[in-house]
């Protein structure tokens, strides 16, 4: 009996570790497969291939097309999306996707910063907006809170803790730096809309606010997640409730006979 009790958690732990390992290897295998698929070198007569082009063909063309023209049912065309979009998706690891149709989420990128720069340059050459400027230090926090609440809070939650909607999970903004904010607002990644109506100063304001909400002023103490009554209710039951139950257990009597 005792041996079983020790064995079961060990088996469960081993199972979960191997499952995770399997998943991780599947991911890298997926990316690796793309990386190691035979790469079509430049057709005769073309200029020497850039590193970005090579990386693109290896890692992106299966969904986005050999010349970034898009593949039906797999990935959109990247012609005209610009450095702006490429930089956002690649730097935040949202691309490459494991499978087309998945929701892109922030992950550690499989590419080095140099590789990302090369890919961004390649996609940028296909046309489209450059990497945007952003100066959060020029932003006004109060304006930023107002703009963020009006335009962003419905999806991202008023202090950027993320949220949901039917069809998508909306990421929290804990890891988003000012450039991420500026790019996302202009690109409108996945099902997020873009916001052409915001001018540079407004984007600076929002970027400043997003920087602030990474660690908002918790004058009241432990922030318990900054998502409101759910963790508050848990504290009421699991902290206060348990403490007080424990207290009356000690103060009161138990049935003894």
């Amino acid at each position: 009996m005792r041996r079983l009790r020790v064995l079961i958690p060990v088996v469960l732990l081993a199972a979960s570790i191997s499952l995770m390992a399997l998943e991780a290897s599947a991911e890298t295998a997926g990316k690796g497969a793309a990386a190691s698929s035979p790469s079509k070198l430049s057709a005769p007569g073309r200029a020497p291939e850039s590193a970005g082009r090579r990386l693109f063909v290896q890692g992106c063309s299966s969904c986005h097309g050999y010349d970034a023209e898009g593949v039906k049912g797999a990935g959109p065309s990247l012609v005209g999306v610009g450095e702006e979009a490429a930089d956002f998706y690649l730097r935040t690891g949202r691309m490459p996707l494991d499978r087309p149709g998945e929701e892109p989420i922030r992950t550690p990128s499989p590419y080095t910063p140099a590789q990302i720069r090369a890919l961004v340059a390649y996609v940028g050459d296909l046309g489209g907006p450059p990497i945007p400027e952003v100066n959060p230090e020029d932003g006004d926090l109060a304006e930023g809170q107002k703009l963020f609440t009006e335009n962003c809070a419905g999806c991202h939650q008023v202090v950027g803790r993320g949220g949901i909607m039917p069809g998508a999970v909306v990421p929290d903004l804990a890891a988003a730096n000012a450039l991420d904010v500026a790019e996302a607002v202009k690109v409108g990644p996945y099902v997020m809309p873009s916001f052409d109506q915001l001018d540079q100063s407004e984007i600076d304001d929002i970027a400043a606010y997003v920087g602030y909400i990474h660690h908002p002023e918790d004058k009241g103490g432990w922030g318990i997640g900054h998502i409101g009554p759910i963790p508050e209710g848990m504290v009421a039951w699991l902290l206060a409730g348990v403490a007080l139950l424990f207290t009356i257990r000690l103060i009161g009597e138990r049935t003894t006979r």
Partner: protein, 365 residues
């Protein structure tokens, strides 16, 4: 009781389901009562060597343990109580100091809370260890006295003695009661206006300019397809629920508006009331796919209960508990190239109530 023992017991309890019932049935079959006052306490004795008494509690409920009194002093507990009280005093003093010196909420809460908890532990400890420990008894009172009730009833009935026109008086009393009740309740109506046409009135009408949150007009080139902005009527209060709009720009070939609304979307701009028709929250989420072949289509979503509306087909409900579509406001391009309303909303805005579908002509209440 070890934890292993507890688990074993729970498992045995749950696991012995069938077996125990069988066992009990067998035990019943073998019982024979032992008579005699000395043995009346026992339910049964098996013919085997060992018997197990059932239902201890029935026996317990008849006997009450005697009163107890424990007057032994406990100097150690007294010392503890004193120490706790001194510590509490220090904590309270700390609260006073913190209040004066710093206004830090954490220090104030920590000192006051700790002081109270320490004082509380002292009091509880005193109650359980320092003062005499006593168990006494009292009697439950039986309430209910037939005689008294009869007398009460008789007294009440005395009110009727000598009164001849009882039916007349009683009916007039009933009339007064009803009328007074109505008179008392009716002033409640002073608390607020009648619904009347109010729910159908919004600040929007043909020609009303659409402006953004700052009051700037919204031009036809303000948004690209796949973007949204919150709009308001120029010059009107932003807080009226009839004011706020979710203005969304779609590609013109994405639109699937009904035939009678064909001209309501200049340049692909469609406008909807921002107030959810379910429970009145602001519909502030806009979902727009980057790549519609693998991603969910355009939608306006409310964050309260996730009612989801389709902006391309006039606001129909795609998912969620909303019972009415999101009301659309027809737009047109004004002379200066900015957006303006082409009329009022196609449907009443806001959450449903009895007369909501009846339209302004019939609003009864």
């Amino acid at each position: 009781m070890t934890r292993g023992g507890l688990i074993a017991r729970v498992v045995a309890t749950l696991g012995g389901l069938g077996g125990l019932r069988r066992h009990r049935e067998n035990a019943q079959a073998e019982l024979h009562q032992i008579s005699g006052p000395a043995n009346r306490k026992f339910d049964a004795v098996r013919s085997g060597e060992v018997a197990v008494r059932g239902n201890e509690r029935a026996r317990l409920a008849e006997e009450v343990p005697p009163p107890e009194l424990d007057e032994t002093p406990d100097p150690r507990a007294e010392l503890w109580v004193a120490l706790l009280l001194i510590a509490a005093a220090i904590a309270f003093a700390g609260f006073v100091v913190f209040y004066v010196v710093s206004e830090d909420t954490h220090l104030l809460g920590l000192s006051l809370g700790l002081g109270l908890v320490l004082a509380g532990v002292a009091a509880a400890l005193a109650g359980k260890r320092v003062v005499i420990q006593e168990k006494t008894t009292d009697e439950y009172t039986d309430y209910g006295d037939r005689e008294e009730r009869r007398e009460v009833a008789n007294h009440l009935v005395e009110g009727k003695v000598g009164v001849t026109r009882r039916k007349l008086l009683f009916s007039s009393l009933a009339a007064v009661g009803a009328a007074l009740g109505a008179a008392t309740v009716v002033p409640v109506a002073s608390l607020g206006p009648r619904v009347g046409e109010k729910v159908y009135e919004t600040p929007w009408s043909a020609g009303k300019k659409v402006v953004d949150e700052r009051g700037e007009p919204i031009a036809l080139d303000t948004l690209s397809p796949g973007e949204f902005i919150t709009g308001f009527p120029e010059g009107a209060s932003k807080e009226e629920i009839g004011s706020a709009l979710m203005i969304v720009r779609l590609e013109t070939d994405e639109l699937e508006l009904p035939a009678d609304r064909a001209d309501s979307a200049p340049g692909g701009y469609v406008a909807y009331s921002k107030i959810c028709t379910h429970a009145g929250c602001a519909v502030s989420l806009f979902r727009y796919p980057t790549f519609d072949e693998t991603q969910p289509g355009p939608a306006l979503v409310c964050p309260c209960h996730y009612s989801t509306f389709n902006p391309a087909d006039g606001g129909k409900v795609l998912f969620g508990p909303a019972g009415r579509p999101l009301p659309q406001l027809p737009l047109r391009a004004g002379a200066d190239g900015s957006l303006e309303a082409a009329g009022g909303f196609y449907e009443p805005i806001g959450p449903s109530y009895g007369g909501i579908r009846e339209g302004p002509e019939k609003a009864p209440l």
